[in-house]
């Protein structure tokens, strides 16, 4: 074999990986709706980050009022009108996107970390570990998540952090269920059995063979859930739990606007549309990602 060991080993070229990405992006582009979703999501992120520097009245988000200009209808000066305190709704909504996006992301990340860990352990080891973990998970799943989140948030007291914790508590079970199911499915796959036969330990099998192959459904669910997390944050704000004024938050803004319907309808429309747009964009994105990442579910 001396002659053959002289063979030049090719540089670890990334071309085939790049080709996979290219193909995936090609498929993603096939559906213009998902491209629209991605564009809106990116725009939202940029706006949220830049909000304090670009809005006309950043001070309104800090609680400054201007009662002289109450309930101005939308105009060139105040694009979305002003509210009962004379604050510029455009400024409030734009700065409100920070809370929504941040807490949405935080909820999803916490839920994924906790849910994946518990689901993977339950699915991989099975037996009584699985029984115990899944009974707890099922228990939480029987409780209507919105009510549980409301109760926990109310008990913890107001604040962004408490609200995130409250929602995450009710969300991880769904990931645990998803990951457990996927792990059990992959456990029977031949390449996993092959790894067993090679003598690989459980850490290696889970981290190298199973988890990389179940990333897709998790990413798809996460993308869809980003939208629903934003929705839940707004829901809590709407019923009066969660972020308290003056910090602007979409649900809270909408809740405040309710009292002035239908005469001052614009106070409700802007935050409502913002919630809708953000959730819609993440849904479009998730839907497109599903097409790309989950070929079996392609419709």
């Amino acid at each position: 074999m001396t002659a053959e060991s002289q063979i030049v080993i090719p540089a670890r070229d990334r071309s085939s990986r790049r080709e996979n990405w290219g193909r995936a992006f090609y498929r993603f582009r096939q559906s213009w709706l998902s491209v629209v979703g991605l564009a809106i999501v990116l725009a939202l992120i940029v706006l949220a980050v830049a909000a304090p520097y670009i809005v006309p009245h950043p001070e309104h988000a800090l609680g400054v009022t201007n009662t002289a200009a109450r309930f101005q209808p939308p105009s060139a000066a105040a694009w979305f009108g002003t509210n009962e305190l004379g604050q510029d709704i455009f400024s409030l909504v734009l700065i409100g996107s920070q809370v929504s996006l941040f807490s949405g992301l935080a909820v999803v990340v916490i839920a994924i970390v906790v849910g994946t860990t518990i689901g993977a352990i339950a699915g991989y080891f099975g037996g009584w570990i699985d029984e115990v973990l899944m009974r707890i998970t099922d228990l939480l799943l029987t409780i209507p998540s919105l009510i549980l989140a409301m109760a926990v948030a109310a008990a913890l007291g107001t604040g962004v952090f408490n609200m995130i914790v409250a929602i995450a508590i009710t969300w991880w079970p769904a990931y645990a269920r998803l990951v457990r199911g996927e792990v059990i499915g992959k456990k029977e796959e031949q390449f996993v059995v092959a790894a067993h036969a090679l003598g690989a330990g459980w850490v290696r099998i889970l981290s190298r063979h199973i988890l990389p192959n179940i990333v897709s459904p998790i990413v798809v669910k996460a993308s869809l859930d980003m939208g629903f997390a934003i929705l839940t944050v707004a829901s809590l704000g709407f019923v009066g739990i969660g972020v308290k004024p003056p910090t602007p938050e979409w649900g809270t803004l909408l809740s405040g606007a309710r009292s002035y319907m239908p005469d001052y309808w614009w106070t409700a429309v802007a935050p409502g549309m913002a919630i809708f747009l953000a959730v819609f964009a993440f849904n479009l994105l998730g839907d497109g990602l599903r097409d790309v990442l989950d070929p079996k579910a392609r419709r």
Binding site: R12, F191, V193, G199
Partner: protein, 273 residues
């Protein structure tokens, strides 16, 4: 004697019946005994549900046995400690039936073939550079090229994937190779090439094969000894020639007669023509 299976039985617990009871268990293996000689090819022939897959899993200790023992080089593998078993796995490797399902789609060929060397680092003692050299050597040995090193499994045909699977199995220099229907998912022309590759590898490396198949022609081509398994029991075993030329068991005879021969003159339906 490399591999010896002594009176192995495997009973799967029955399905839940009613509120608390369980149905009767299913006896997948019933007092199976056979021995595989070093450097030889042993064929295990059976149809679906005959227990041949369960037997493989028991040999690899992916499944426990209900009774009996599996001896590898005189050691009962089901009595070994986890640590000892892990070391032993380096000496006994498997090639699976489905070349599409048995390779991790998220790993490159290099990582797939190198994995056994990483797992058995303590035994093999290769560094990263040595591993890559060895992977290239293995790829060449099974008829692939070094350009294939950093590609992903989906870029290969079924036959090429099966070669990757064989390269992986050979990576840590095993003595025994369990071949679980390695060619049944392949086209005949590709199957012929893979079978010839297996022949060549056995001659070059002095491997022992435990070859599982439902195709008598393939078993005849590869194996020295053969056992026929039916509903968890070995109904007949012995040297290939004697079993194929003078089968003693009815089931073996049925199998032999049912095997479609590509010679139209041997067709049972053409007698009247």
């Amino acid at each position: 004697m490399t591999l010896e299976i002594r009176n192995v039985s495997k009973v799967f617990p029955g399905q839940r019946k009613g509120m608390f009871g369980r149905g009767d268990g299913f006896k997948a293996l019933d007092d199976v005994s056979l021995s595989v000689r070093k450097g030889q090819s042993f064929g295990l022939v059976g149809e679906s549900g005959s227990g041949k897959t369960t037997l493989t899993r028991c040999i690899l200790r992916l499944e426990s046995v209900s009774a009996g023992s599996v001896l590898f080089d005189g050691e009962d593998i089901h009595a070994l400690s986890a640590q000892a078993m892990r070391r032993l796995r380096a000496r006994m490797q498997i090639v699976f039936q489905d070349p599409y399902a048995s390779l991790n789609p998220r790993m490159t060929v290099h990582d797939i073939v190198a994995e056994p060397m990483v797992i058995h680092q303590d035994t093999v003692g290769f560094g990263a550079r040595q591993r890559t050299d060895r992977v290239v050597e293995l790829l060449l040995q099974v008829g692939l090229r070094s350009e294939h090193l950093f590609r992903y499994p989906h870029e290969f045909s079924g036959g090429q994937r099966q070669r990757i699977g064989i390269a992986r199995a050979l990576a840590v220099g095993p003595e025994l190779l369990i071949l679980d229907e390695p060619t049944s998912a392949l086209d005949v022309s590709v199957q012929a090439e893979v079978l010839n590759l297996l022949h060549r590898l056995q001659e070059e490396l002095g491997l022992t094969y435990f070859f599982i198949s439902h195709d008598l022609g393939v078993v005849r081509y590869i194996c020295d000894d053969v056992a026929v398994i039916y509903r968890g029991q070995i109904v007949e075993q012995g040297p290939c020639e004697s079993i194929f030329d003078a089968p003693q068991n009815d089931y073996t005879r049925i199998l032999l007669e049912a095997m479609p021969d590509p010679d139209p003159e041997r067709s049972p339906f053409r007698t009247g023509e």
